[in-house]
Symmetry: C2
Subunit: 429 residues, 2 copies
């Protein structure tokens, strides 16, 4: 073969990775998937992460991921929450927030960033999609790939969302453990136990509580879904019936439960940056309702962040999928894809088999996947066999973190800043 003169090699473009929205027990596993896959490729230069997600890009506060040791990056796989910082910071339409999108491209250009991996939910997929468009418009091409993450499990076109299976496992096992406690005490003390779980609009997390038991006598006896309008009389009658039959009643209630008029049972009255109402405290509302009607002694629990940060009891399936999504995002980018998100495609229920697929960002952006009606029992208080078939495989397997002195040993990063290149400051409002 004749030797051709080597073409002048283009300097490989750098990648930008950002975490967005509420974090999860496995979002860092996706980060590890992105980073380790990028490290293996000669087509990608360095990987920068946004300190506090997209905010880090806007303020040019980039973290040089390659300053961390390989062991630390590996440790992200077993470390919950967002190691680089996440943000609740939504970019609006290209028209409304044009200056911000332009700023993003400016920063990307200044740091030779040609890849953007955005790890978040439906809002973030919308942003990633728009960044891809504006880059083209401004003449700085950025390959934008979404990495799915949301404990709410409400992203369409994927079997589930990394983060959800671990919350599901946590909620199912917490329901099982607490129910044993209530059963022990019911004769002379607590008869009704109410546990509030996350899930703003979709009842996936509440549904997972249903995996704790089997028949109608096993806890949870009642699940309250955001998909089903709350009917106070019907609920109170059911509680009474369960206490009479079983001796006690365990209720799992989604934070997003509302009445037929759409009014949340517990509305803290404040809104977050995405314009979502900040919820919390529906459990005491429901528990008091039961007490007033029936006089039963009650206890209630609100695990709040504990459920989504519960890396100590992660689903093995979840960790594997979260990592796979990060890795696949890089592979899609390297294969020439743009404005897509890798997905989890279910091949079989039992044994659970899945592969990696993909979907256009435009198809997932700002869309929510609710529980199908046939996943909820006719009376609206439980899950069906179809729902169990869907949920059961997701919580399979344990993936314990290492422990040191009796506590999980989670990595902490140096998060060293990349030198600034732009003169202009961006002031976050």
């Amino acid at each position: 073969m004749s030797k051709r003169p080597a073409a002048k090699k283009a300097k490989p473009m750098n990648a930008f990775y950002a975490q967005s929205g509420g974090v999860s027990a496995v979002i860092n596993a996706s980060a590890a998937g992105v980073i380790e896959a990028a490290m293996k490729s000669t087509k990608i230069g360095r990987v920068y992460a946004g300190r506090h997600g997209i905010v880090g890009a806007l303020t040019e506060d980039l973290i040089d991921v390659y300053k961390e040791s390989r062991a630390t990056i590996k440790g992200l796989r077993h470390t919950p929450a967002g190691a680089f910082g996440s943000a609740r910071y939504k970019l609006k339409s290209l028209e409304q927030d044009r200056a911000k999108y332009q700023r993003l491209i400016e920063v990307f250009k200044a740091h030779d960033i040609g890849y953007f991996f955005y790890n978040g939910g439906n809002d973030s997929m919308d942003t990633a999609n728009k960044v891809s468009q504006i880059g083209d418009q401004l003449g700085h091409k950025v390959v934008c790939i979404g990495v799915p993450k949301t404990v709410d499990n409400d992203l369409p076109h994927t079997d589930c969302c990394p983060g959800f299976p671990t919350v599901a496992k946590y909620v199912a096992l917490s329901t099982r453990e607490a129910a044993l406690d209530v059963a022990s005490m019911a004769k002379t003390s607590t008869k009704v136990f109410v546990m509030e779980v996350m899930g703003r609009h979709a009842g996936w997390i509440a549904a997972a509580g249903g995996l704790a038991g089997k028949g109608p006598d096993e806890a949870p006896h009642i699940i309250l879904f955001p998909e089903i309008a709350f009917d106070k009389e019907k609920f109170l009658a059911r509680v009474k019936e369960v206490v009479s039959r079983v001796g006690y009643c365990v209720v799992v209630v989604s934070e997003g439960v509302h009445d037929a008029d759409g009014k949340f049972l517990a509305d803290a009255g404040t809104k977050d940056a995405f314009g979502h109402t900040q919820l919390g405290g529906v459990a005491p509302v429901v528990a008091n309702m039961v007490r007033e009607a029936h006089g039963y002694k009650y206890h209630w629990a609100v695990p709040d962040y504990l459920q989504r940060a519960s890396r100590h009891v992660a689903s093995k399936v979840d960790v594997a999928q979260a990592y796979a999504m990060g890795k696949a995002a890089v592979e899609l980018a390297l294969a020439g894809e743009n404005a897509v998100m890798p997905t989890i495609v279910r091949k079989s229920d039992s044994p659970y088999r899945w592969t990696v697929g993909k979907v256009a960002l435009a198809k997932v952006a700002n869309k929510e996947k609710m529980m199908p009606r046939n996943f909820i029992t006719k009376d609206g208080f439980g899950i069906t066999a179809a729902c169990r078939k869907y949920l059961a495989p997701l919580i399979q397997g344990e993936d314990y973190p290492p422990y040191v002195k009796g506590l999980p040993s989670y990595v902490s990063l140096k998060n060293q800043r990349v030198a600034r290149k732009l003169a202009k400051e961006f002031v976050l409002k």
Copy 2:
């Protein structure tokens, strides 16, 4: 040696075992310790358990423990809550409740019960002590041995109480996990996180939250103890200072926190059978206080029963001690002791070494061990090195339950009833 004629062997007396008060993740491990030790001895006939604790004895609702398989009894070691049912049912003084004590002895006599193993806290040790006295008075000797159990860790004369180390581990790791979540979000969202933990009068469980971090910048930044009168101004000033310095603030608050006048911050207004005020909901009170003063976005969590039923993350030390206390109770009885409770005696901190001791029931009855003042920092918001030295060994080691289909596999008992021998019914009031 000359062969002496065998003395007519007395039929071995049966044993009665009961669980009392709030259950824990390891009270069943103590049950396994009692039952397996009793099974090995020819001096003890059958072991009966009270359905719902002492209530089962009063109502002659006895469970024949020997109807369970050996595997099931073994499985109690990894099963949380009270497998035979517990009760919040306190017997008053011998004068006030004479009829009930007499009834107990009647039932014991009818079922040839000569041993009483009572698994509970300080109230229960008082009851066991009195049963021992009344038995003697009524001419039916009952050997009464206490088995220590209380997640509150407030029993004196023992290094710790079975049940506490697992709650301590749960609270420390939950604080660590949730704090990582808050740290991720603080830039644009939640700045203050408040987690409420159990501990009516003593701050042991709240203190355990302190194991999550080390320096003043690590969560939890503030612990609110029942031993320290709550000072609102001082607390709010500290929250502000921490948020300014660290960017966020994690608060662990004991349910028993009260002001200088003894008024609980959150008083649900109801009392349980022991006359204790039923608490709950101090976390939202504290969180709202912070919001009103500083306007920070907050989240709060109340794990409630989840913390004391958290067998999935049990301390290995706790499981071993709980089992050892049950076993030792039987051994003490067989050695001719009466009206005593086995204790845990610390031999060294690091490595943690402990042996089994004993103490007279009269010495533990109705007494509470508070946190010593030198375990709490001078400012009242944290734990000292002395406290860490005490707490750290207790949460060591993991003792995972077996999992089936992604969830802990806990045993459930047949709880078969022993045929009644008494004509008279006892009506529980």
